[in-house]
Symmetry: C2
Subunit: 328 residues, 2 copies
């Protein structure tokens, strides 16, 4: 298997690289597992902690640069994971940049896949930010995408492209709508949802964290661990498992921000809980409220995708995978 | 009011021009009717029967040419009707052309509107081809868009752009999903749905017409007369009437192809009915079956949009508006 990851230097990209190298195989088109021979990475920022593995190469470049992407998605490529994106607050702040990276970049990736002529498998990360506007309390499968951010709009357009190129036999695409990923290691990013990780991560390290939304705000959550499992499952499922729609939302743990804080208290104690400072920011509250609070993920569950079992499970996965791993 | 129509030389564009000139006014942003001073048209083919009216100008050019479109959507433009498109079978046959015209062209139009800095009103023609795949017998409002053609994909992407640019305050957009337009005057076009007009139009002129789909095939129909009424209504409705979704499907008359043929018999007699030759073409049947057969248009009806009353009403509108008008 010759694998390409576009936008590999992000948190999920790096975790996927580690998981691929550890697992060592991925499904071929015929369904059998085959050995991973090459993992070619691209991002527009350096790749931190690049694994010392002869299978891995890294290129610095832009997703919207057809020359760089065509060179990256070279003949022989069997699988492409497309993660590159300008996140929600970033795409909201800069209209051109958001469309260039999130829409044009996706077209460049898909056209490079198409040029191979071998129908490679493509896993695209979408987001539950594709939902918005007038929504029921719980979003069912087959609900209309009416995003209320440019980021959500561009992700919805990416899903449409994935479906169209797949239907035409140019790629074998799969698009996963990610719930809010919690707990992200590292530093806050430009995403409006970044607080959802900060309010767990910072107190666990003995630091204060600001929560800019009210405690009743509902968040559908997924741990990085379960997200990476989902990428591998999405890749390996046979085409027949997807039917006529190659996009779906992943199962999430749907909790209020208050329940997130209480999970932290149960895992790390009252002192950690007290480090969450509730300071409402209407700009963030407004963006977050355009996202769905609860997801009915019947279709994804039937396909074997899993949510985290509890808020404690999410926090403990972060402690095991990131805090302890880094401490070693 | 200074109006631009992109893709004006098509059948609906020409009927809209005539309706605008006859009506003489259109709603301003404040809701009051204001006099139409200029109607600037563009298409990539010559405009047949250009009305001799000092308010009208015509430019030949491509919708994906930013220079031409920026010149067309000049300062002072209050309203843009964006009709330019490569139709369904055309976009299916030529991937690049479909995306260039239907997606890139729409972006060029919206970016030219944005450059005005005055939030012009934009009416975009989408299509019920945005629906497809696993669908209920009747499509409700808020049903997911899972198009099974490139044309439907590109129209769904256009709707997303209309919503995003509107939400950002760059345009005041409205997108109408057109049912199959019947009866189209003139000649068959590249659309897979072209037979739906041919089987009425040709027999009324004493000619045979081939019906490439089975008599039980369901079609949601709308006459050109009601479509033009819908464009004017879509333009004139206040922003508050649209809520958080600027796209909707128009009310349709949902009939089987057999019922269409029987409507023809009632209006024009058994001889006309016999001129329909049933010759199944699997390629066309397959495309048409990816479209919805019935629409629940509760939202559009509540906003005052209307369907045709019967198949006879559709046929009689064609006889009055096209056959008799041309005979005069």
């Amino acid at each position: 298997m010759q694998i390409v990851i576009v936008g590999a230097a992000g948190m999920l990209g790096r975790k996927l690289v580690a998981a691929l190298l550890k697992r060592g195989t991925l499904a071929r088109a015929d369904g059998t597992q085959a050995r991973i021979e090459r993992v070619a990475l691209l991002d527009n920022v350096p790749f931190a902690d690049m694994p010392a593995d002869p299978r891995v190469t890294f290129t610095e470049g832009d997703v919207y640069d057809p020359t760089a992407i065509k060179k990256l998605i070279a003949p022989g490529t069997t699988s492409v994971f497309h993660f590159a994106a300008v996140v929600s607050a970033g795409a909201e702040a800069d209209l051109e940049l958001g469309y260039r990276v999130n829409l044009d970049g996706t077209r460049v990736v898909l056209d490079a896949c198409r040029a191979l002529g071998t129908c490679p498998r493509v896993v695209f990360t979408s987001s539950v930010a594709v939902y918005g506007g007038d929504m029921p309390d719980t979003i069912p499968d087959n609900f209309a995408l009416t995003p209320q951010t440019s980021y959500g709009t561009q992700k919805a357009m990416g899903e449409l492209l994935i479906n169209d190129y797949t239907r035409r036999g140019l790629i074998d695409g799969r698009a996963l709508r990610l719930p809010t990923i919690v707990v992200r290691p590292g530093k806050p990013n430009l995403a409006a949802s970044t607080f959802a990780s900060s309010i767990i991560r910072e107190p666990l390290s003995g630091q204060d964290a600001v929560c800019p939304v009210g405690p009743a705000t509902m968040m559908p959550l997924l741990s990085p661990r379960k997200a990476v499992e989902a990428f591998l499952r999405a890749h390996d499922l046979p085409p027949s498992a997807w039917g006529t729609n190659r996009a779906l939302h992943l199962p999430s743990l749907d909790v209020s921000v208050q329940e997130m804080a209480e999970g932290l208290k149960r895992v790390a104690g009252a002192a950690a809980y007290q480090r969450i400072k509730w300071q409402p920011e209407p700009r963030i509250q407004k963006i977050v409220e355009t996202w769905p609070g609860r997801l009915n993920s019947k279709r994804a569950r039937a396909m074997g995708f899993e949510s985290d079992a509890s808020m404690e499970a999410i926090i403990n996965a972060f402690i095991e995978d990131d805090l302890r791993a880094n401490a070693r």
